[in-house]
Point group: C2
Chain length 364, copies 2
């Protein structure tokens, strides 16, 4: 039964992905005598933690119970309000966790503290699917950057433009709605300059049951963004982060700040594009633990060439577009880093999920 | 049980696809008292027919039996050697067929003749998969042309060239072997001029258990073919059909004929390419009922633009090739004619089979 309950805890975690601020998305279930007495997930923006929510729900029934947690409970040094302490004080007898927390400040500390207090602790092997739920936390500490997903829609022959102007969309309305479901599990949605200027996107989540305050990130080397763009319409709800090169137009800069935008001034790389190294260095300072990069071909290729993509979501239509259309990728190294992980049929179209092979290596 | 035995008969037919000359690939099973007493398929190059082979195998046990045939038995007017007559004379009591033969010379004639002679005849609905086994015969009479499959190998981002010259292949050796399995179910393998000149292909079937004498067809507008090309190495076993424009070099023409090549001189279309209408008109005269067209992008696009492709086999690799690679298709109309029919995982690559939607309409 341990696997069953731990899977249920992961289900709770998956529901709050993209919604937990700088804290990892954690789920937990408290079971007493085969009865679920508490259920919890990390709260919006991070606090209270999953364990606190579940323990509160369980009330008196927490005594003598088993708690299933997707990630090792926090136990920062000398923190009397840590989840580990709360578990100890609650009278819980047994703790089953899905993974150690890779955060060095708490790694194995919660685990060891519980054992020291005479509580039985089990580290349970998870499915790869559940492992992925913890991946952004692993990414943060193992790779020192957010987890980055790449989403692209392409024609049957691998293009992202359509020569037929009567029908500008490559994929169907159904697939385009489905994208919002993927957006919703990331903290931030990001595009490059060209997409920002051409499509005037909102980059928020517009699907019932999944709406939340996601971050929007844009690369805007020459600060061409227009304050009338859709990106500003929901800025109070959805923080906007702009990466730009030397700020020349101070007036515009101040105006953007006053509207609520967060602006990072970063350097250029050898190709005169915004430096991805500087981008990573700066984005790490934010609360963003996971980013969904949504094309175009230039920015996607630059991220792929630096092996910065962890997971790819390819929405593939059943239309051909042929020569003269824009290939889904720009110049690229010979990349064979990905493995097909999952395929989802969307009417006559298809979502393919490709996983970076290096992630498979982290999974034990 | 009828469905079970008819499926078995279709399995027999599928084994001889691409190997029956101008005759359709037919399979049959004779069952007497739940015992299989005869099994047959169309012989190499067409004769004897499946029914004759199975009746011969059944011997005396044919009397009172049921015969399952994938296609209505032949009954050309006044033919005392037709399969229909052979069934009547054999003492078979019951006939189950998978389809009427669309050939107007025999359409419903076998069916009606059997009924007239007091034999029970059942036309059974087939699965779509089995329907496809009869499709080249339908194509011949409904569309007045061979069935045409398109096979292309492409990178994850839809290209057929690889910028990395160290690794010219888009797909793995495993996938490239699998292609021979697909080739083997077609009467002919075909390429355009560029592929012929660049790749020097043999276009035969080199996989154990599937070798047979397939036709090879090339488009060679200016008769650039070289008599030292691989295409001539197996010409005695594998007929070679060349389509060309005005024959200027009579010496070369005669030389090619003397080597065994079959040459059709055909006109050009508006774009100065070999006319596909003339191609169809001429290929109809041959024994070729089905063709597997193997790229390149130009010839594939021209066939797609004229809606001449019935089924597409996409071998998709897990590599990216990016900008500067050659898109799998050339200029193309906005084509949305195909439906994903099947996906076959080939290690980390994938074969996708797409079916022309018009075929679905023919299936009842």
């Amino acid at each position: 039964m341990d696997s069953f309950w731990l899977n249920s805890a992961f289900y709770q975690a998956s529901r709050v992905l993209g919604n937990t601020g700088s804290n990892p998305a954690v789920g937990c279930i408290i079971v007493n005598n085969n009865e679920v007495v508490g259920v919890g997930a990390t709260s919006k923006n991070g606090r209270p933690h999953a364990e606190e929510n579940a323990i509160k729900m369980a009330g008196n029934k927490v005594k003598g119970s088993t708690i299933y947690i997707t990630l090792e409970p926090c136990n920062l040094a000398n923190n009397n309000f840590s989840c580990t302490k709360k578990i100890i004080n609650s009278g819980i007898k047994r703790v089953v966790i899905g993974a150690f927390d890779p955060n060095p400040l708490t790694y194995k500390k919660g685990y060891n503290e519980l054992i020291k207090k005479g509580i039985e602790v089990v580290l349970k092997k998870t499915s790869f699917e559940n492992f992925l739920i913890n991946y952004s936390q692993l990414c943060k500490y193992f790779l020192a950057r957010p987890m980055i997903g790449l989403k692209m829609a392409m024609s049957l022959d691998g293009n992202i433009t359509n020569n037929d102007i009567k029908n500008q969309w490559i994929t169907s309305k159904f697939s385009r709605l489905h994208v919002h479901q993927i957006r919703s599990i990331f903290d931030a949605v990001m595009v490059g300059t060209n997409t920002m200027l051409l499509d005037n996107p909102s980059l928020n989540i517009r699907i019932n049951g999944h709406r939340h305050s996601n971050y929007r990130i844009v690369f805007d080397k020459d600060l061409k963004i227009n304050i009338k763009d859709n990106l500003f319409k929901t800025i109070k709800k959805n923080p906007l982060i702009i990466f730009t090169n030397k700020i020349i137009n101070k007036y515009k800069y101040n105006k953007l700040l006053s509207l609520g935008a967060i602006i990072y001034e970063i350097g250029l790389d050898m190709n005169n594009n915004l430096s991805l190294d500087s981008f990573i260095k700066n984005i790490k300072k934010s609360k963003v633990k996971s980013i969904l990069l949504e094309g175009g071909s230039k920015i996607a290729s630059s991220f792929l060439n630096k092996n910065l993509i962890d997971i790819i979501y390819f929405y593939r239509s059943s239309k051909f577009t042929g020569k003269g259309s824009l290939n889904v990728l720009d110049k690229i190294k010979n990349i064979d880093d990905f493995e097909l992980y999952n395929t989802v049929k969307l009417n006559n179209e298809q979502l393919e999920v490709w996983i970076n092979k290096k992630i498979k290596k982290l999974y034990r």
